[in-house]
């Protein structure tokens, strides 16, 4: 079974430009999450999709960030316009089921991340 994949692995852009990150979750996983680590700080949650719907976007820093998951499969995270403080590593994760069953806590499987550098 293929794991979570992310594209690109690295992206270097100039301030003010637009960048789109892509995440392909494990096939069949309802839940898709975006996280990021900026400048040596802790990994922080950005948002959570359940299929194509945004379940929790409380971690999105501002309206320069737009996430989509059309069709409930892969997801994109667009940063427009990019700022210097957006530099960091963006991780995507997925887990199987939506709906908390008694005694079930699903494992989140992470992708390798996209390293974004804004100059």
């Amino acid at each position: 079974e293929a794991g979570v994949t992310q594209f690109p692995s690295h992206s270097v852009i100039e301030k003010g430009q637009t960048v789109t990150l892509r995440c392909d979750p494990i096939s069949g996983h309802d839940n898709l999450y975006w996280y990021r680590r900026v400048m040596g700080k802790e990994i922080k949650f950005l948002l959570h999709f359940v299929k194509e719907s945004k379940q929790d976007e409380s971690g999105m820093p501002n309206n320069r960030f737009l996430a989509e998951r059309t069709g409930g499969t892969y997801s994109t995270l667009k940063v427009q316009p990019a700022e210097l403080e957006d530099s960091g590593v963006y991780f995507c994760a997925s887990s199987p089921r939506w709906g908390s069953l008694a005694g079930i806590t699903d494992t989140q499987y992470f992708g390798p991340g996209t390293r974004l550098t804004v100059l």
Partner: protein
Amino acid sequence: LAKTTQPISMDSYEGQEVNITCSHNNIATNDYITWYQQFPSQGPRFIIQGYKTKVTNEVASLFIPADRKSSTLSLPRVSLSDTAVYYCLLNFGNEKLTFGTGTRLTIIP
């Protein structure tokens, strides 16, 4: 407010057993305790998860006392390849994960 507290770093020699303790005094009834491992330039990787008592899998054991206010990840006979950052997290269902600073484990030859 951090949900878990763990040592910032630890060193150990190859072949030894390593125990990393995590404190979670405010753990909720529904919370599970989950440990992730992260190598440089990679995403976090699930190691083990438990709710109470002891859980063992092919790579680690997790010890959780009755009050569940702490937990200990045990790595048997570590090797150089176990050098990584280890995160202790609390989670339930499909909720987001809240990462702390983790424990940077360095294995010495």
